[in-house]
């Protein structure tokens, strides 16, 4: 007799209490949600050696799948969305009552206003200077399809998704530029606040960490506190974020984030946000506090400067993994002698950079006549010349082997000196080498400040897009006058900056306060000047991607020679073969 048959009544009681139907398992559905494991499994079966992801990752996936934590995740996503940092994986299906409650609460508010304040902390935990503040205000109206952002710097964007326009106030140029929004959808192509959040979570990568929920108080209010603590990743700040949800309304009322320096264990950046739900929001950009007589430029139907820069940067990053690039600089004097040559070898994570200066101090013409025959004017001849180190002037050769950086340098005295240093942190990538490569910098120079899309006659006549950047002057060891930069981008040729005009202006309408020049001898203030850089010839990679072939500047012309299918001699990346004396 089996033991559990000896007391059938107890069996019945237990079965009745805990028993339930057998759960059904859908293997096909499971396969859809575990593609990564299946890929690893298949690779193993085929003899591959892919390692299994860290356990934390899997637990994180469970966290995001669990119904009780979906609500927590939904709330925490607000943290993530607003700072666009540290996304994590998962999905929200909105099926639970708790999640639906918060979703409904937020869906029904006419406006959501969020005020953020952020500050950096020094090693002792004190606030750093005001310059490090990151205060931001954001208004959302999901019903009116409007998003307004005002940053501490003074930059304001008013995005009207119904009319497909964005009005941007540039605090340096002090003007409003009207441009087009790229699509008829709210950010992240969603139409409601919660689908917007859901889209965010879907694009997030697993980051690891813990989500907990507890009851508590915030400013005397009963709240649910959701806390997310990210996993510690080498080289990245750890995040501790908390969001406070009003228990009576199910609306988030505040949140705070601390970014912890994983080396010191101390917070280095603190950000706090408070949420409000007003009945009415700003009707236009002027309602944020701008005078109505501010100049407005209509650049429709061009997209916003942000969107153009996004495309610009993406083209800048398109780079071959392996290449040899040579850039020569020819002087704009009789005979156009080459003054120096840069050579870049890149092979994945290894690179070699060389700079060859042609001339020793003294008359250039004589030296050039001697060298012209040696260097030639083809890729092969210049490469051979550089490998033989035939330049008369200084030569510098650097190698990065993935861990160490080596440099061998020959100065005017003709003596080679070699140094070696460790490059800390992660390995550099081919894309990063490309971003340092002169071709990338010449074709797509960095746009660093606040810029406006501002079509002028030159841009219109040449089918280019003009972006104007106004920069304030500054004084350090030297004086930099205020500058106006106009970048003329060619959208037909991968947004290459076909023409760059730089004006150094004094006095400048966009910097009327000249207290930074107090005490300076007026004779030492640089004169106003202007310069132009223009791409006069283009070429294409084998992939069809464009790059600048010849660039004309005021006193020099740069020529690019590029080989994207190179055969590297092994010694090229061998630090033991760096020259230590002339052959």
């Amino acid at each position: 007799m089996k033991a559990d048959e000896s007391n059938k009544k107890l069996d019945e009681l237990i079965s009745k209490t805990v028993g339930r139907d057998k759960p059904q398992f859908d293997f096909d559905k499971w396969k859809q949600t575990h593609k990564e494991e299946i890929q690893i499994y298949k690779s193993q079966a085929a003899g591959g050696q892919i390692s299994y992801p860290a356990q934390q990752y899997n637990i994180w996936r469970i966290i995001m799948k669990s119904r009780i934590t979906k609500l927590a995740a939904a709330a925490v996503i607000i943290i993530v969305v607003l700072i666009a940092i540290h996304p994590f994986n998962g999905s929200l299906n909105g099926t639970t009552a708790a999640y639906a409650k918060v979703k409904e609460a937020v869906r029904n508010v006419p406006w959501m206003y969020i005020s953020y304040t952020g500050y950096m902390l020094d090693e002792t935990g004190n606030k750093k200077s005001e310059e490090d503040r990151t205060d931001t205000e954001i208004w959302y109206s999901f019903k009116s399809q409007i998003v307004i952002q005002r940053y501490y710097s003074g930059l304001i964007t008013y995005s009207d998704y119904t009319n497909q326009e964005v009005h941007t106030y540039n605090p340096v140029s002090k003007r409003i530029v009207v441009t087009a929004l790229p699509s008829k959808k709210l950010p992240l192509e969603a139409n409601t606040p919660w689908s917007w959040l859901e889209r965010n979570i879907q694009r997030m990568i697993p980051f690891g960490g813990e989500v907990t929920r507890k009851r508590g108080q915030y400013d005397g209010q009963e709240v649910e506190i959701y806390e997310i603590v990210s996993a510690v990743k080498p080289g990245m700040a750890s995040i501790c974020g908390r969001i406070f949800v009003d228990r009576s309304t199910s609306l988030p009322i505040a949140e705070e984030r601390r970014y912890i320096n994983t080396k010191t264990g101390k917070p280095q950046l603190v950000e706090k946000g408070t949420f409000d739900y007003p009945e009415h929001g700003p009707g236009d950009i002027y309602a944020i506090g701008l005078p109505r007589d501010i100049p407005t430029v209509n650049s429709l139907p061009l997209p916003s400067c942000w969107d153009i820069e996004k495309a610009y940067r993406s083209h800048r990053r398109k780079a071959p993994d392996r290449y040899i690039a040579i850039v020569t600089r020819e002087l704009s004097i009789l005979g156009s002698p080459i003054s120096d040559v840069e050579v870049w070898y890149t092979d994945g994570v290894r690179f070699r950079e060389e700079r060859h200066h042609m001339f020793q101090p003294g008359p250039v013409g004589v030296q050039w006549r001697e060298q012209a025959a040696e260097i030639g004017n083809t890729f092969d001849s210049i490469l051979k010349w550089s490998q033989e180190c035939k330049a008369r002037g200084p030569i510098s050769i650097s190698i990065y082997d993935g861990n160490y950086y080596y440099n061998s340098c020959r100065e005017d005295d003709g003596v080679w000196k070699t140094t070696k240093q460790i490059i800390e942190g992660r390995k550099l990538t081919a894309n990063e080498f490309w971003s340092m490569c002169p071709i990338a910098n010449m074709g797509w120079p960095e746009i660093r400040g606040y810029a406006d899309v501002l079509q002028d006659d030159y841009a219109r006549q040449n089918d280019l897009i003009c972006i104007e950047e106004l920069l304030k002057g500054w004084r350090r060891e030297w004086i930099m006058l205020p500058r106006r930069k106009r970048y003329y981008l060619n959208p037909q040729r991968d947004y290459i900056c076909q023409r760059l005009e730089i004006e150094r202006v004094y006095p400048a309408p966009w910097q009327k306060d000249y207290s930074w020049l107090e005490g300076v001898d007026p004779a030492t203030i640089p004169k106003q000047s202007s310069s132009t850089v223009e791409v006069t010839e283009f070429a294409q990679f084998q992939t069809g991607h464009w790059y600048p072939k010849k660039i004309k500047e005021t006193s020099i012309t740069k020529t690019v020679y590029l080989e994207t299918n190179p055969v590297f001699p092994e010694w090229i990346f061998d630090p033991n073969n760096l020259p230590d004396k002339d052959e």
Binding site: G19, F25, I62, R67
Partner: protein
């Protein structure tokens, strides 16, 4: 002991036949959910734990040394996954969770029965849940736990004695048991 068919399925799965692995998953899903439930006290989380344990098992399948012990190995993975879920504070697992789980039963005696299960040692609780949660047979339980049916019988008897003792202390009379 597993039958020859199961061993063949395991060998085929190790060899790269994912559909064989699927058959094994289907065979042990209810048992894994029960094991997860005995730790987590939540059916949804228990299903998550079972599915996650399949994922871990799949990528570690080649580490399984004894192909005849697939089910106990899978059960051990599932236990660890469930414990990890508790440890990572996915949800505070407590007797309160177990006793307040949303079961359909509305009998007044149900809360006391649930507490009687909850007070059992972990291994005994797991056994009771395996037996009564989805109504697994002794044979199925033996396969999952890797022990004989006689051993299961003995452990289950002892577990139920403890439960009966607890129930008597909490107002149950003899003829109810």
């Amino acid at each position: 002991m597993p039958d020859k068919t199961e061993t063949k399925l395991v060998e085929a799965a190790v060899g790269g036949d994912i559909e064989s692995f699927g058959k094994l998953c289907r065979r042990y899903y209810a048992a894994m959910v029960a094991i997860g439930y005995s730790v987590l006290g939540d059916h949804q989380l228990a299903e998550d734990a079972a599915q996650e344990s399949f994922a871990r098992a799949l990528v570690n399948l080649r580490r399984l040394k004894d192909k005849r012990r697939f089910a106990p190995w899978l059960a051990a993975i599932c236990r660890n996954v469930a414990k990890d879920m508790v440890a990572t504070k996915v949800r505070k697992i407590s007797t309160k969770d177990f006793s307040q789980a949303a079961w359909n039963n509305t009998d007044e005696s149900a809360p006391v029965i649930r507490r009687a299960i909850e007070q059992l040692p972990i291994s005994a609780k797991e056994l009771v849940v395996l037996r009564y949660y989805n109504g697994l047979s002794y044979e199925q339980i033996a396969s999952v736990l890797g022990i004989s049916q006689a051993a299961i019988n003995g452990r289950l008897t002892r577990a139920k004695r403890k439960m009966a003792k607890y129930l008597r202390r909490n107002g149950f009379v003899e003829n109810q048991l």
